[in-house]
Structures are given as C-alpha cells and as structure tokens.
C-alpha cells in the first residue's frame, strides 16, 4: 500500500435549494485501501458520491485522480471509461431479461465480421475469465433475473473490474443482503483490494466499518467531521462524531405516563408477516424493528387496509373492527405517515395548504363551497406549531426540504385527531436537525394521548425514541423489549438471526 493518495477531492461544495448539502468537503484515498464513509441520513455521503461519479454537478471544488484533474462536467460513463472511477448504487441497475454476459458487456458488445454481428463466443470467453477471478462458476448465458440480489451485486463488481476500475464506490451494498451474502461480498472486496483497487464504502452500519475498512471518514451536516484509522477508534467515538452530540440529546425522550390499551392485533397475517399479535397503549411510542423483508411494513399495511390481510383480528378500543382501506382506517382514527414521502405522502406539485388539508376535505367541503378560510387557518396554525420553514402556505411542497415536507405529512394527520399514528421510517432522508424536531413532535403527540407505532430499520433511532419494541425477522415476531432492557447487541442479533436461516 503506497502512502501517496491516488484520489483527492478538495473543497467540494454543493447547494440544493434551502440546503447546503456539502460544505467544502475533502476526501483522499490510497491505492488498495477500503475507506469507509459514514454519517447519518442527510449527512451528505450520497451527494458526495454522486458528485464523484458524475451524476451531480458540484458548485465548486476539485477532483483529482492519479494527479489528473477530472473536469466537473465529465459524465458517469466517461469517468468509468477514461479514469477508472466506478460506482455501485444501492438500487442496482441491470437488464433482468438479458444474460450475465450481455450485462457484463453492456454498451461495448464485441462484434465480428463485416456484418458487425455480436460475437457471442468472445463474450462467453471473456465473461468466464472474469468470473474465474472471483471463483464464480455460472453459465454466462444465464438470465440475470434468476440470480439473487447478492449475485447481482457481484455482477456489478465484475462489470467494474472488467473495465479496469481503479476507484470503486459502493453505496450501502449490504442493505438488502443477509449475513451469509454479506460475508461473501466482503470476501470479494478483499480480493479487489489485493488487486490494488481502492474501495470507498458508504455505510451507516458501524459493525461493517470495523470488519472491512482501513480508514473511516465521518460526515455530518454536509461537512467532513474527521478521518480516522479504524484500528485507533471505537464505535462510541464514531457515533459521537456522526451525531455531533451525546445520544440522549439526539433522542429527547421524556418519561410520560402510559395509559391503557388502545389497539390490539391478534394473529394478523399479511404478505410475508405471519401470526402477528401485539397490543398498543395510550400515549406510547411502540417500535417495530426489523430488516428489509422482515414483515414490519406488511404488518402495518395490513392493519391500515393498504394490503389485504389473510387472517387475524384488529381490536380498537375494545371493539373488533374491520379495516379494508385507508379511508376506513382514517375514519377509525388510525393515521399513516408512509416511508416514501414523495411517492406516497405528498402531492408534490400542489401547495402546502392543499397538502395539509387533504385529510379534511370532506369536512371542509360540507355545504356548497369549500371553507377556504378554515383551510388557511389550519395551514397557518400548523406552519406555526410545527415550525415548518416555508415562504408561505401557498408554497409548492416540492420546494420544501425533506424535514419540512415530513412535517407537512405529520401535520395533515394530526388535523384528523387520530388515536393511533403509524409512522413508517419517519426520518428517512431528513437532516439531523429536522430529525430531532420530528422526535420532539412525536413526544408531544404522546403527551396529547396519541399512540404511535414507529416502523424503522434504524437501530439507533428505535432504541432512542421508543418505549417498547418488537423485533421482526422473516415475517415473525422474534422478541419484545421494554425500554429499560434495551440492548443494542441483543436486538441486532435477534433481527439478523432470522435472515441467516433464510
């Protein structure tokens, strides 16, 4: 491992409307090392990587690879072809209906003869050679759709290697892998390292950083907080650098009295979730924690009538109720903050006022004319109460920042005066400051007697904010914890255990 840097990013700044996404960020890597980049959602990791790969244009700064400056406007393909700079995104992109070989040689298929026919033999040979590097033994003409997610990820690595990659960025590659697959992926990363490839590994899982990385760079609020040798740091130190304050401050958890049962679910089955039973009490924040595909999301979607349930009972205030649609859920006093704010939470092209009062249209529209005075009053009240930062109630919600958008989604449901508020990953894509504000709002709602079910895959969050939690794995409840017994290792172990058996 040489000591000189091969990749140097200097003073990169990027501004989005209302947000300084990156504030003079530096990053350096050496040949054959794994540099982990960690930070909370909204810390700027992904933006930095998108600038590095050419998907975003930086406002100012410089990127040098092996001493050569990469012009900022160089596109992703040219960066790969001319500089050996590749990126593997969280959402993988290949053509499912085509073969492994075709995917590997996408855009540069070998041709032969005067008719420029596709040279399948050459493709087959080259693919097999590539795969041999990683001890893989597939028929190159297997369709990609028949591979597992992990195998597809490896395919992506092969694609990069086949183009003589020098620096490879991997954006949370294990988010949809189970433990065994993660192990395999790490093996491949090791062999890439031995070939002298530099890996920039984006993650928010500290455990992976210690398993894999040589150095770690911490980002927060669009700034580089520090770079450390992995051998010389502890996870406690990294967490503190990530959140920038002690964890008790990050999660403003007040001790509040918890009332009697509001909602009970008995033997609910929905999608991959099987036989789920739990009860929710007045004024508590109840966490459903599990990895992707664990069944938490399916459970709440079944409860809300978004998905059809295949069995089980829902008991609200002591009475059995049937909820077949979100409309019925709303009538019963069950509200839902979905995880994908843009696709499911808001009508982006319309105003804050329209979005905020969308849940009250029936009530506001009684009589011949919609009560626009009330609409304005509601909007102004909640902009004030939630401290939504917006130029006016008529601002198009698309123009608001993620945190403010999320506040609109929460506010529109509080207007309906719900008994139960279900929040699916409520702080996704929200910057740290707004996160704390959302947690405070949640506390405030509990104080007003609303019960919250929070679905999340973020361990720190579920530990920080909930009173009680269920751990899901493989569609089943693996265990339950009370706040006083929270134990990060034990919870994670339970959540992962299920997926190992998959």
């Amino acid at each position: 491992m040489g000591n000189e840097y091969n990749l140097q990013i200097k003073n990169v700044t990027k501004r989005f409307p209302g947000v300084l996404a990156l504030d003079k960020v530096d990053l350096e890597t050496r040949r054959g090392e794994v540099l982990a980049v960690i930070g909370e959602n909204g810390a700027g990791k992904s933006t930095l990587m998108k600038i590095l790969s050419g998907a975003h244009l930086m406002d100012s700064g410089e990127i040098r690879l092996d001493g050569k400056v990469i012009p900022p406007e160089t596109g992703p393909k040219a960066r790969m072809d001319n500089y050996g700079l590749g990126i593997i995104y969280q959402e993988l992109n290949y053509l499912n209906e085509m073969t492994i070989a075709e995917n590997l040689f996408l855009g540069r298929v070998p041709l032969k003869g005067i008719l420029r026919r596709v040279d399948y033999q050459a493709m087959k040979k080259a693919s097999m050679e590539l795969m041999r590097l990683f001890d893989m033994d597939y028929n190159p003409f297997t369709l990609v759709k028949s591979l597992s997610v992990a195998e597809k990820q490896i395919l992506e690595i092969l694609r990069a290697v086949s183009r003589d990659v020098k620096v490879l960025v991997m954006d949370e590659p294990t988010s949809s892998l189970n433990e065994v697959e993660t192990q395999r992926l790490f093996g491949y990363i090791e062999s890439l390292k031995r070939r002298g490839v530099t890996i920039i590994y984006i993650s928010h899982k500290l455990e992976e950083v210690f398993r894999l990385a040589d150095r770690v760079m911490v980002m927060r609020d669009g700034k580089r907080v520090g770079v450390l040798d992995v051998g010389e740091t502890t996870s406690g130190q990294l967490v503190e650098m990530m959140v920038g304050r002690a964890i008790t401050e990050m999660y403003p958890k007040a001790e509040l009295p918890i009332g009697e049962e509001v909602l009970r679910i008995e033997h609910l089955s929905c999608g991959c979730a099987r036989d789920i039973s739990f009860s929710l009490r007045k004024g508590e924040i109840f966490g459903l924690y599990g990895l992707v595909g664990s069944g938490c999301v399916e459970t709440v979607e079944g409860l809300l009538g978004i998905r059809a349930i295949s069995g089980g009972k829902v008991i609200l205030d002591g009475k059995e109720t049937k909820i077949n649609t979100p409309i019925e859920a709303k009538k019963q006093g069950i509200a839902y903050v979905p995880s994908d704010r843009k696709a499911e939470g808001l009508v982006l092209i319309h105003s804050l006022k329209d979005n905020l009062t969308i849940t009250k249209l029936d009530e506001l529209g009684r009589g011949l004319k919609i009560n626009s005075a009330r609409q304005k009053e509601y909007s102004d009240t909640w902009i004030e109460k939630m401290q939504i930062r917006t130029p006016s109630r008529n601002a198009i919600v698309e123009s608001l920042s993620g945190g403010n958008q999320q506040k609109v989604v929460v506010a529109k449901w509080i207007l309906t005066d719900p008994k139960v508020l279900i929040m699916n990953d409520p702080t996704r894509g929200v910057d740290v400051g707004a996160k704390v504000e959302i947690y405070k709002i949640m506390e405030d709602l509990c104080r007003r007697g609303i019960s919250i079910i929070m679905v999340t895959a973020e361990l720190l969050e579920v530990i920080g904010i909930t009173d009680r939690m269920l751990i899901f794995a493989n569609g089943k409840i693996e265990g339950e914890f009370q706040r006083k017994d929270y134990d990060q290792k034990a919870i994670l172990h339970m959540a992962v255990k299920g997926s190992e058996n998959a």
Partner: protein, 328 residues
C-alpha cells in the same frame, strides 16, 4: 434531481404566480392578436353575425371540453365523447320525432349522457382500466351502436329543439352560448370551490398519496367520468339541434379537436394541473383560427394542417419556456 425542478423551486412565489397567470394571459394575448389579424384581413370578421357564429360553434365544443378538462386534470383522457354525443343525439331526436315533448327529450339527454358516462366510469374506477384504453374501446362501441340504432339521418322537427340549437336570445346571443356559459360556470365552480374539485387536483397530482390520505380516489374518478359523459351527451345533442339533424357519424374523426383545445389551454397530460380559463381560451383560439381561414376561403384540409401546427407550436413554446431542454 433534474435541474428543471431545482430551477422552478428557486424562483420566488411572486414570480411563480406571474408565470401561472402568464399562461392564461399569453393565451388571451394570442387570441387578441389573432382576432386583430383576421379583422384586418377581412371586414366581415368583426361583424356581430360572424362573432356570434364563432361563439355558437365554440360553445358546443366548450361544453364537452369542460367535462374533458375534469377527466384530464385527473390524468385520464376521455376520447369517447363524440361517440357518446352521437348516440345521445340519435336516440333523443328519434324520441322527439316519435312525438315526445321537448322537455322529456331533454331529460333523456341527461339520462343517456350519464348512462354512457357510467359505463366509462365503471371500467376506469372499478376495473382499473386506463382511461384512454377504456374510452378507446367505448368510443368504437358507442359509434357502432349509433350506426346500429339508425343507419341514416334523422331530421329534427320539434321547433323548440331547433330554436334551442339555432335561436338567439334577443336575436343576439345564441342559446347554446348561454347553455355553455352555465355549464362552464358550474364546472369551474366545482373545480375551484368544492371539496370534489380539490380532490380532482390532488388525485390527479398523486393518486397514491391521495388514497393513503383517506381520499376515495375511485369515487372521484367515477364522478369525473360521469361529468365527462354528461357534457358529451349535451353537446352531441346540441349539435343535432343546430344542424337540424342527428347523424350516426356525427363527430367521427374529430375526437381530437376538443383534446387539442384543452392541451392548448395548458393542461398537463400527466394530470394534476389545468384550468377552465385555459380550456375556454384554447377552444376560442382554435375556433377563431378556423373561422378566419374560412373567411379567407382556405380549404378545410389546409385548416387541419394549421390547427395541428398551432397546437405543436404552442406546446413547443411551453417546453422551451419551462427550461426542460436545458442540460443539467
């Protein structure tokens, strides 16, 4: 994130509301300029007789376009409107010639429009077939039905109905224009001042988010297609009253005229956006173009070329202005 969205976001509110107004305003200016040019080229253009003629044709188109506006804000196009109109006109005029009094005929107009709208509405909101496919199917079914009902022209004989189609209040304003105004005002009011209207915009903007917010998106769509059918029936019937005869082929081949006008009026094909004022201006512009060309004795084929060209130029101006062509 595409740069276009960022660019829009960075604009202050005042600028944006001027842009919003700008669309209506620029259409109005276009109409004014057009009228000026025609007036200079033909002394006949600005006569009361001719202006009322333009209004008469525009009115009937505007009635069905108002229903189309609602369905298009929802993101669904109704291309069966002209067929619905033909069936309604044929059955109602047959009913009239069989001796039914005019007021019973008018009730039948409403019933038939709603009935065919009901079929579209059911297919779209219950069976979840895309609106354009649904109405492509029903367009042909209704058209065929019209030919099956009567393979010939049926003359309008009831003097009340003829007066409705051709007559003018105080000898000046065509009755159809008054009917159109009433319909337009009702739909405009529905869209802007009722919860149904707000729901149309919200569902059109993001159906999934609206549904998850407890809006019955299916019901909104259902009602929208009822309205679309009703306005189609009324306008088809009024065409017959105006022409003095119901024909099974009435409106065949000109399905896209209303759609062009609505798009010219600034509606977004992806839904969620659009205004009645735009639709009205869109129709007036297209009608004025055709009227002026007719006065210049330009033949009908050339008029089609011009109408299509105007639509494309208008949309092109819009694309360029929105900055969608700018690179990131």
């Amino acid at each position: 994130m595409p740069s276009r969205i960022l660019a829009m976001n960075e604009r202050p509110k005042l600028f944006r509301s001027i842009m919003d107004l700008g669309n209506t305003l620029s259409l109005a200016i276009a109409l004014f300029l057009l009228a000026t040019v025609w007036a200079l080229m033909s002394p006949y253009f600005l006569t009361l007789q001719n202006v009322m003629n333009v209004l008469m044709f525009a009115s009937i188109l505007a009635i069905r376009a108002s229903g189309l506006t609602v369905s298009m804000i929802l993101g669904g196009m109704d291309i069966s409107q002209n067929s619905v109109g033909a069936v309604t006109a044929l059955l109602c005029i047959l009913f009239s010639t069989s001796g039914a009094p005019w007021w019973q005929v008018l009730i039948l107009v409403v019933v038939l429009g709603l009935a065919m709208g009901f079929i579209n509405a059911t297919l779209v909101s219950v069976f979840k077939i895309a609106a354009i496919i649904t109405t492509l199917g029903t367009m042909q079914i209704f058209r065929g039905t019209a030919w099956i009902i009567k393979d010939a022209t049926v003359m309008v004989t009831d003097p009340v109905l003829l007066a409705l189609g051709r007559g003018r209040m105080f000898g000046v304003v065509p009755y159809v224009t008054i009917i159109a105004l009433v319909v337009l005002v009702i739909v405009w009011y529905l869209l802007n001042f009722t919860s149904f209207g707000r729901k149309v915009y919200m569902v059109g903007g993001n159906e999934r988010a609206s549904y998850l917010s407890g809006i019955n998106a299916n019901r909104v769509k259902f009602i929208a297609f009822l309205i679309s059918g009703l306005t189609a029936g009324i306008s088809g019937f009024l065409v017959a009253c105006q022409v003095g005869a119901a024909l099974p082929q009435s409106g065949a081949g000109s399905e896209m005229n209303t759609i062009s006008a609505v798009i010219l009026g600034g509606i977004s094909l992806s839904g969620g956006k659009g205004k009645m004022s735009g639709t009205i201006l869109g129709i007036l512009i297209l009608q004025t173009i055709n009227n002026g060309l007719t006065l210049q004795s330009v033949n009908a084929y050339f008029q089609m070329v011009v109408s299509g060209g105007v639509l494309l130029i208008a949309v092109m101006i819009d694309v360029v202005r929105s900055g969608a062509l700018r690179k990131q």
